[in-house]
Point group: C2
Chain length 209, copies 2
């Protein structure tokens, strides 16, 4: 089993472990993870240290065994296996969804929002996180490598379960559209303030790479 | 270049990437790093959130590009190269020393100490961190694999610079003893309260594995 994602291209450029080497890419990942916690601990928007600590915890949980690292572990364990739709969803909610959700919530925590508003932004984040992965699977099955900027068809080659293999392309696209709509529904009460978040949801679903 | 440390034994047991696989070992490392930040952010000894944030920053800096990850990068870049003693010291101060120092300082921050006392404990931590590595190099050159619980002679085989190759065994042992003494000197004013730290310094220098 290779150490790392076997993708050799991202956004049309060689991935870090190809451009440099695996050891360097892994170290850079470790260093950047530390840097995120460093930045969260040293910059204060509000002078509210308790809120900053809450943000540190949010990022730590989203990155760890109950977040990204846990999702990646499920992913490793599921190669060549048949997953049900709920199992696939669980994997992606952790693997890619947790950090997307955390990014939304970290921003939300910088504002002065009520819990019900934080909950809405959390649901928005969960929807776009899942939509991101569904669209990724569709792109992997449909686009060519030049457009995608990374190796197309890799998931099928690796015998990995995807939304496309489980649902078919049309249902996967429908699922992405539904998630996009649910994301938008959770932004209604924020009015114009949420315009960038709407653009982000649109980008995630309409992107071609 | 291998992804990971090529040691196959630690404390007489197979290392994680041998017992499981490299991908799993790497993920466990990522998850444990997150867990450290999670624990630091959710448990409060003093109710002093600002101090806890300071501890998060301390650990983040010690783990990142100016700490452990940076030292590991120097290590990777120095295989097969001639390093001077100051260069070797810089590598180890970061690679293994930074986290040992952080462990001492994180404990110190839980108490109510003056800055001059924190500085003394910091110097203590720096000394035992460096001593740890000097002793590691001596053990690697002298012990057999069964005693050491990890593969002996690995550094020389890998053409890695060590304190033993630079100084010789006798001078390396003398250096470790001097670092142990300097560590102890920095504990004087703490009296009996620092007994465990003295035992730790003794263990690091007198250990056989």
């Amino acid at each position: 089993m290779p150490c790392m994602d076997d993708d050799v291209l991202r956004r049309g450029k060689p991935t870090c472990h190809v451009e440099y080497d695996e050891a360097t890419a892994l170290l850079v990942g470790d260093a950047l993870q530390s840097l995120a916690f460093q930045l969260l601990s040293e910059h204060s928007l509000s002078g509210d240290a308790a809120k900053q600590l809450q943000m540190v915890k949010l990022l730590a949980v989203a990155s760890g065994s109950r977040g990204m690292a846990g999702g990646q572990a499920i992913d490793l364990a599921s190669v060549g296996k048949q997953l049900s739709l709920p199992e696939l969803e669980q994997m992606h909610i952790h693997k890619t969804g947790a950090l997307i959700r955390a990014a939304i919530l970290l921003g939300a925590h910088c504002g002065d929002l009520e819990q019900s508003q934080l909950d809405k932004l959390d649901r928005y984040g969960k929807c776009i996180g899942l939509a991101f992965q569904v669209v990724d699977d569709v792109l992997d099955s449909e686009a060519d490598t030049a457009t995608l900027g990374k190796t197309a068809g890799k998931d099928a080659d690796n015998d990995k379960p995807t939304y496309v293999t489980l649902l078919g392309v049309q249902s996967a696209k429908k699922m992405a559209a539904e998630l996009q709509q649910e994301a938008m529904d959770n932004l209604v009460e924020f009015g114009d303030r949420a315009q960038r978040l709407r653009e982000l949801a649109d980008f995630i679903v309409m992107r071609k790479y």
